[in-house]
């Protein structure tokens, strides 16, 4: 069976793990090991999700908008910075430690400052998403640019290729797998980043909705939102995987770059 249906057997193990977690969660609630007001049962969460699906979708549209704007700006900024850092060694040496340091600052610590500086609109949310998504893609791109076989560049030079041609025909495609690896992580960070910034101030979005239901002690709805955010993040990561597949058809032929 493993050989005949690899796609099914590959998914069996994670599906079994998810089922086991749900079963344990359900038994904990049914056996009243954890009080219902602290941990609602999966059935309650599901019911809350179905009852509030309209609200959730409306709020998710706002959060997704912030996440997508942030992600797109983050990608554009990342490309500009990574290309410059790859081109100018001095910039690489100067900026790389700074990039690492920015990752040691917790997102939750920057978010209130952004709200203070930019207000309660969309700007601080998008900015926080840009900050959170910037690092994984930049590191991915820089690592991809740096891993190019020097002989490939040498070959291009013997063919009279200029710097831009070497970048277009060698560096960029060689960095594609690392770029998509970074983008997959950033896609999930984007939604979480938007939600975190919404917690600290705003009028709409899943983060704002979460703070409201938390204040109302509606933990079943709270869990529904958490699971919904998780589902959106997984969907975004899936979309990135599809883009990766379309952008790198040679990978489907069992080829590594």
């Amino acid at each position: 069976m493993t050989k005949r249906f690899p796609s099914i057997t590959n998914k069996l193990a994670p599906a079994a793990a998810v089922a086991a977690v749900l079963a344990i969660w359900f038994l904990c609630c049914e056996g009243e090991i954890v009080p219902a007001y602290m941990l609602p049962s999966p059935a309650d969460v599901f019911r809350a999700f179905v009852r509030n699906i309209g609200d959730l979708l409306r709020q998710a549209a706002v959060t997704l908008q912030e996440a997508m704007y942030g992600l797109l700006i983050g990608i554009a900024l990342t490309f500009a910075v990574a290309v410059l850092m790859d081109r100018f060694r001095f910039l690489y040496k100067a900026l790389y430690p700074l990039l690492v340091v920015t990752q040691t600052i917790p997102t939750i610590a920057i978010a209130p400052l952004l709200v203070l500086w930019m207000g309660f609109g969309m700007a601080p949310k998008i900015t926080l998403v840009v900050i959170t998504t910037f690092f994984p893609i930049t590191v991915g791109l820089l690592s991809g640019f740096g891993c190019v076989d020097p002989d490939c560049i040498h070959l291009m030079r013997t063919m009279g290729a200029g710097r831009m041609q070497i970048f277009r025909f060698v560096k960029l495609p060689c960095a594609a797998p690392d770029f998509f690896a970074g983008l997959r992580i950033s896609a999930s960070y984007a939604v979480v980043g938007a939600v975190v910034s919404e917690w600290l101030g705003g009028f709409e979005g899943l983060g704002v909705y979460m703070t409201r239901v938390k204040k109302a002690y509606a933990y079943d709805r709270m869990f529904a939102v958490i699971l919904f955010i998780s589902a959106i993040s997984l969907l975004l990561m899936g979309a990135v995987a599809l883009m990766e597949k379309a952008a790198m058809p040679w990978k489907q032929k069992g080829v590594s770059s």
Binding site: D151, L155, A161, F169, P173, G254, S257
Partner: protein, 245 residues
């Protein structure tokens, strides 16, 4: 007719003199070998001839034109095939044409007639990983040919192949060279390969590299040439010139 000429090429890296007054010529349609020990400056010599490395002294002439330090004039095939895994075979082969500004369609049309004689028919849409080692070398050789202006430098192109594939490739190479107009300068450290493939062989001494001898292989290369006494005579001469006898 002299097509490529290196005059008094010298090159040093820091205190280390790698090439010293190296002069050689390549005539139209010739296959000329450059034999020498490892670290003897063969690859540096090719880097200078291809224009990616400027010499400290001397100059390189292509059909009389000074091309010293000008890359893109003399085609160069490196030891590894260096086919890009993300480009289809046809696009790998067409790369030098694309770099010169041809559109993808024009480049593909220009390369298409060579797939059959180079033994690559039907591989156009495949990716390099789907080819055998020998086919990858042929694709790399076709790319080198398309990049060339009638002159190519081959840096140990068969060294990574197993003995059987190498033998097949030698036969194929001699066959295809009869159908195309290409003058080749071939680096090798394999004496047998040099005798089998080349019309002339330069012996490059090491540290610093300088031309020690030039041996002409002018006997007809029949089917059993590799087993003939002529072959052994050439081998003896070359080994003596390399001081390895």
């Amino acid at each position: 007719m002299e097509i490529l000429k290196a005059e008094q090429i010298s090159k040093r890296f820091g205190d280390k003199e790698v090439l010293q007054n190296v002069s050689l010529t390549l005539n139209a349609g010739e296959i000329v070998g450059v034999l020498g020990v490892s670290g003897g400056g063969k690859t540096t010599l090719f880097n200078v001839l291809s224009g990616v490395c400027a010499p400290d002294g001397g100059r390189v002439l292509l059909r009389g034109e000074d091309v010293t330090g000008k890359p893109g004039k003399v085609s160069y095939m490196l030891q590894k095939d260096l086919l890009f895994p993300y480009r289809r075979v046809v696009d790998n082969v067409c790369l030098p044409l694309t770099l010169r500004g041809m559109s993808r369609r024009e480049a593909r049309a220009a390369a298409e007639p060579y797939f059959e004689p180079f033994g690559l028919a039907g591989t156009q849409t495949l990716y390099p990983a789907q080819l055998s080692g020998g086919m990858r070398q042929r694709a790399a050789f076709l790319r080198t040919y398309l990049a060339s202006d009638g002159v190519a430098l081959l840096d140990e192109p068969f060294s990574a192949l197993d003995a059987i594939t190498k033998r097949t490739m030698h036969k194929w190479y001699l066959g295809v060279m009869r159908t195309i107009e290409l003058s080749v300068l071939l680096i090798t450290h394999d004496v047998d390969e040099a005798i089998l493939l080349c019309d002339r062989v330069y012996i490059l001494s090491g540290k610093p590299g300088e031309i020690r001898a030039q041996i002409r292989i002018d006997k007809e290369k029949t089917e059993d040439f590799a087993l003939s006494t002529d072959f052994l005579d050439y081998k003896r001469q070359i080994l003596a010139a390399m001081h390895l006898d």
